[in-house]
Amino acid sequence: MEAALGLLRRMPPKQSETALSALLSLLPQHSSDLLSQVDLPLQVLRDGESRKDFILCEYNRDADSYRSPWSNKYHPSLEDALYPSSELRKLEVEANDIFAIYRDQYYEGGISSVYMWEDDNEGFVACFLIKKDGSKSGHGRRGCLEEGAWDAIHVIQVGPEEEEMAQYCLTSTIMLSLTTDDESSGKFGLSGSIRRQMKMELAVAEGHLCNMGRMIEELEGKLRNSLDQVYFGKTREMVCTLRPPAEIVQMRLPDT
């Protein structure tokens, strides 16, 4: 299992789907472990009734059907399927509406879906998903990207309320890939994924949605930042180590 995760960490991020399915076929006995520890780019389905797209994941799946957060119906339809309680569904509806505005403000496009379900210890779990195609032909406002995909998966566990406080445990994954192609720099592609966790105990006075939203906003911002600054920065450093820019070489020359 450790070796399998090691392989996934080394394979090109763009090949993660192929890598995972290869591992699943080699290690069928570890399939549940693998699927729970590895995230894959999100898929989208059309909810014809609501005329809106929704995102598919393990959390809205039952058998081979997926529940739309807009109509609360399974696609394809399914008898005796699982649904959240009506109280939780109310929160889910509200979360979907608000998260769509959040998504618009940060992403200027894209698709979002929120799913919730009760868990075993009297709390609940919520999953906030965003998928954005930032390419020229997609929702890229600036038209910089030949290809650009962003998938965000935020799973947040909310503990039972105790003395007006609740425990929140958020796990966020970002997967992205972007390619630019122009005269001077040719094809320039960056892709990757990172996952981080954040735990907090918060007062529920303003409501769960407010708390979850703030945590997601903070962690998502941090992840974006570290991809931009740290991860992309490291690859840039690497390029400069391989072949330093002329100024640096010239500065070094007098010594040699």
């Binding site: 080394r10 394979m11 991020p13 040719g186 303003e206």
Partner: protein
């Protein structure tokens, strides 16, 4: 949420399927990481026979496409493993020393060298051009790459005896930086093909640069950049050709590096913004506390045509 599991078919993979999967992992290993991939792969496969066969097939392909360089015994320098220097699958010519290196692909070592046979070497006419260019490229690489290795191979018209025949030289520059302890590896590969056309007295130059970097500390992020170039210059004496070609290579590679820097500098405020902004369009954090008012705001935005 649904029950996972118990739905995946547990069909046993055939020997060939396993081998193909194993090869796929090996061939997709980032620069300098094939041995780590091999180790994990062996643990996952638990089948030495399949692994060995996959390794024997995949390593030569990987070594050649990554243009790895291996130290030759007796301190004769490095030999580059590439399709341009390949004599047989396990033998690679080092044109500078006129030696042939015997390579163990899976171990990634050079086990032996032997002097090249005459028919493996270019004629004295093409060798004059080859060695003049090699000297200039060596100088350029030593000035511009802290750890670059280069070679100039004659790939066509090896037996051209003098003016009146065409021939082709290929310049290879390869540099890798591996720091597994920092979870960071990278490679730079340049291939410059120079077509010496006797009739038109022109050198057609084609370049292919490929830069990769992999950073995987608590994540997995990869840079994959490539670009192709085209240029030409006049057919002159061997020494002048060498200088002219090396200048062209230097010029394009320097420009390319600058262009990569520009691409990186555009990321935060431009390119990356098309995926997700740093701050919302409102430039302030999302007002979660006012969520109830949002539905209203959105209606207003829609009516004013602001919302998209």
């Amino acid at each position: 949420m649904a029950d996972e599991e118990d739905e995946l078919p547990e069909t046993e993979l055939s020997y060939d399927q396993k081998k193909e999967i194993a090869k796929w992992f090996l061939l997709n290993a980032p620069a300098g990481e094939i041995n780590y991939v091999a180790k994990d792969l062996q643990a996952v496969l638990c089948d030495e026979e399949v692994y060995n066969e996959a390794a024997v097939e995949a390593f030569p392909v990987y070594n050649k496409s990554h243009m790895i360089f291996l130290e030759m015994p007796s301190g004769a320098g490095d030999v580059i493993v590439s399709s341009y220097s390949e004599i047989t699958e396990n033998e690679y010519l080092d044109p500078r020393t006129a030696q042939v290196a015997l390579v163990d692909h899976v171990k990634q070592i050079c086990t032996k060298v032997r002097p090249a046979y005459d028919e493996e070497l270019p004629s004295s006419y093409t060798e004059e051009y080859r060695s003049a260019l090699d000297a200039e490229i060596q100088r350029y690489v030593s000035e511009s790459y802290p750890k670059g290795v280069c070679a100039v191979n004659c790939v066509k018209g090896k037996d051209a005896e003098g003016p009146g025949s065409d021939f082709e030289l290929v310049v290879i520059i390869t540099a890798t930086k591996l720091s597994p302890q920092n979870f960071c590896n990278g490679s730079w590969r340049s291939i410059w093909t120079i077509d010496f056309q006797d009739e038109s007295q022109v050198l057609e130059i084609k370049g292919k640069l490929q830069v990769g970097a992999h950073y995987f500390e608590e994540g997995n992020v990869e840079l994959d950049a490539k670009k192709e170039f085209q240029d030409s210059t006049m057919f002159q004496s061997a020494d002048d050709c060498g200088i002219a070609i090396a200048n062209i290579v230097r010029h394009h590679e320097t420009e390319y590096l600058a262009a990569l820097e520009v691409a990186y500098s555009k990321l935060p405020d431009n390119t990356f913004k098309d995926l997700r902004r740093k701050l919302p369009v409102t430039r302030t954090l999302f007002p979660w506390q006012n969520t109830l008012q949002f539905s209203l705001t959105r209606e207003v935005e829609k009516e004013l045509g602001l919302g998209k």
